[in-house]
Symmetry: C2
Subunit: 403 residues, 2 copies
């Protein structure tokens, strides 16, 4: 079996943890598997490098920033190879140049275009454990690029795809994907398996176990993911394509996200093109809009409400105030004390009654629903932030997710 | 003019020094020159990386060690590019992969084989200051190698050679090459110019301003070197091929080296091949022998004395004791309290009286000569360590080097 294993920065933050990771990888290798390990930079290394750069030039080009930051993973992988060698196991570290991990040109946020497998395959054939720098690529100018958020996960999935790995294990600080946040819902249950689409919905919600890009890539290339803990030997959660058995599960889980804010543009002219202009303006400024609610027009005016993440709230308000006239807005209102609650489940598609069951459960728990948004396999409602824990438990209970 | 400038680790050890180096480079660039800068790792970075590696695996492979250590220079060059950018100057950092600095395969002590100039030339044509990682190469396996001692100097000279640079400036913590160590000989004078051969002789002596490998390479490719201080704007010393005017200088300088020890193999059989076996054994164990003195045979026995650096003394003694029988040695003696004094000068070749003048000056200062060794442009004598300062001053005076 060919296994790709990815460990984040905290998993290799010191000598003890490096050896802990080395042992886990060696176990698989000793059982006859081929093992490729993808690592992030150790602990706070990336932050330390960023601080050095900012001290010298707060406006450094991203090209030089990537040249600097990519050293972090190179340190991790060489030290890991040394650790494995000290345990008598042949291991070799490789960086983006050595594997030719070709990416788009965009420094700081590149995407993979093509990965050569020749070198890795050669080393695996020699029964070496291959340790690869996550998070980095090489663009057409032969410059280092970095992949942005979730970059090391993406590296692992991309390698699993081109190497046709049997499985790609993503090690995190949680045991896997749960039916709800176990800190909030006492009887939350770890899921044995979820579909790519469900995982994508979870990732856009509060439960950021995996970054969307890596899940999308896994889905595209059919890479079976396993999310599991680097701290214990629990089985973790498998992420893969939907199969018959899985479809019986109506709801996979429920997630809450307090990082939400509602904004309302009051008294907008009820004319074609106004709503488009508004959302176009936001998109141009990289502001991601989530739930949208538009009131029915009255006296030639209407209200447009939508949610953004709290990080974007200030920028959104400033932008709307700034364009008030051209967007015909009479007033900008906002509410920070809101949160999203979502249920996700591939089984939802063929069961139209799910939404009303969710709404009724919330009603019975005196949770007021402010806005609603749905996808094929997700229903999201906006509620008061103070109601989140009660709402999560009510919905979890309603769909018997703890059983 | 195309100028290659090399700065060592202490010259880029912190933000202030990085900006100091940046300014010096930018001055040349603003004067219309093309500028290539070669940097070592910042301050103690290499030592810190070595410590991390040793902590994890004291016997790590050199291949992984080089993978680890090469990150040090990459950090230096990217931060330097950022510093220059903050001063409004276009700068770009490049590592051994990006320039394709092809080396032999020997990890930890590689030599350059071929360097592609395409990328550097392209960046220079765009009027960028190009900042290159010193000390590192890429071997035929596409692995990082490091060049061993004096590696960054070698990188600078190699780049100057392939780029046909007009000059290669090596910045150190001294002003240049002196007629003698200014801390010992009060009226020691900075030399304006020395030949490659003189510099090579100086380098093998105490005055390790430049590593031999870089001087040899400069000589081979006719690269004009300038040794100068990173702390001030003094002119420095030019190192180049001998020209007529220079030949008039009888003696260029005098150097002392206290890192010497004498070893004597007493009562060795006076038979062909014994001396060869002895020195062959030492060479095989990487022990570098300097001055050799062999006594005239008597009663079928003779004594062989030679000097090694003090670092090799213990290993040499153990080796000779170990092979006492096969080498027919009756006794091994040694003396640590010795030092070498050398005079160097290209003019020596055509002036046979130089040696006797040196010996007489030492005799007049009551300095006892224990052993003598000469090359075409160097005379070295072994003396008691306690006499070094007196001897240096006497010889410096005899040849009027302070004038």
């Amino acid at each position: 079996m060919l296994i790709v294993k990815k460990f984040g920065g905290s998993s290799v933050a010191n000598k003890e943890r490096i050896f802990n990771v080395a042992k886990r990888c060696i176990e698989d290798w000793q059982n006859g598997n081929d093992v490729v390990v993808v690592l992030s930079a150790m602990g706070d290394t990336t932050d330390e490098l960023l601080a050095k750069a900012t001290d010298i030039n707060p406006k450094a080009t991203k090209r030089e920033m990537d040249m600097l930051l990519t050293t972090g993973e190179q340190v991790s992988v060489s030290l890991m190879a040394m650790a494995m060698q000290s345990m008598g196991v042949p291991a070799i570290s490789l960086n983006a140049f050595q594997i030719s991990m070709q990416s788009t040109s965009k420094y700081g946020n590149a995407r993979f275009k093509r990965i050569d497998t020749e070198r890795i395959t050669h080393e695996l054939e020699n029964r070496k454990i291959v340790i690869v720098t996550g998070f980095q690529g090489i663009n057409k100018y032969e410059d280092y690029t970095t992949l942005g958020r979730g970059g090391s996960d993406t590296t692992a999935v991309a390698l699993a795809a081109v190497l046709h790995a049997d499985v790609c294990e993503i090690f995190t600080d949680v045991d896997g994907v749960y039916t709800a946040d176990p800190r909030v819902v006492k009887n939350a249950k770890k899921l044995e398996v979820v579909t790519y689409d469900e995982m994508l919905e979870f990732a856009t919600l509060g439960a950021r176990v995996l970054h969307n890009r890596s899940v999308e890539m896994a889905k595209k290339y059919g890479v079976t993911l396993i999310v599991r803990s680097s701290l214990n030997n629990e089985e973790g959660t498998i992420v893969k394509e939907a199969v018959k058995k899985m479809e019986k599960m109506l709801i996979t889980g429920v997630a809450g996200d307090k990082n939400a804010a509602r904004i309302s543009a009051i008294g907008v002219k009820d004319e074609p093109g106004i709503a488009f202009s508004l959302f176009h303006t936001l998109a141009k400024n990289n502001i991601n809009v989530e739930i949208i609610l538009q009131s029915v027009g009255r006296n030639g005016r209407k209200d447009i409400s939508f949610t953004v993440s709290q990080d974007d709230l200030q920028a959104t308000i400033e932008l709307l105030e700034d364009k008030k006239e051209v967007l015909t807005i009479q007033e900008v209102e906002y509410d920070e004390n809101v949160a999203k609650i979502s249920i996700v489940g591939a089984g939802m598609m063929s069961n139209p009654g799910v939404a009303s069951r969710m709404f009724e459960a919330l009603y019975n728990s005196r949770v007021n629903i402010k806005m609603i948004s749905t996808s094929e396999i997700r229903i999201t409602v906006l509620i008061d932030e103070k109601d989140v824990d009660r709402a999560l438990n009510a919905v979890h209970e309603e769909f018997n997710l703890g059983e």
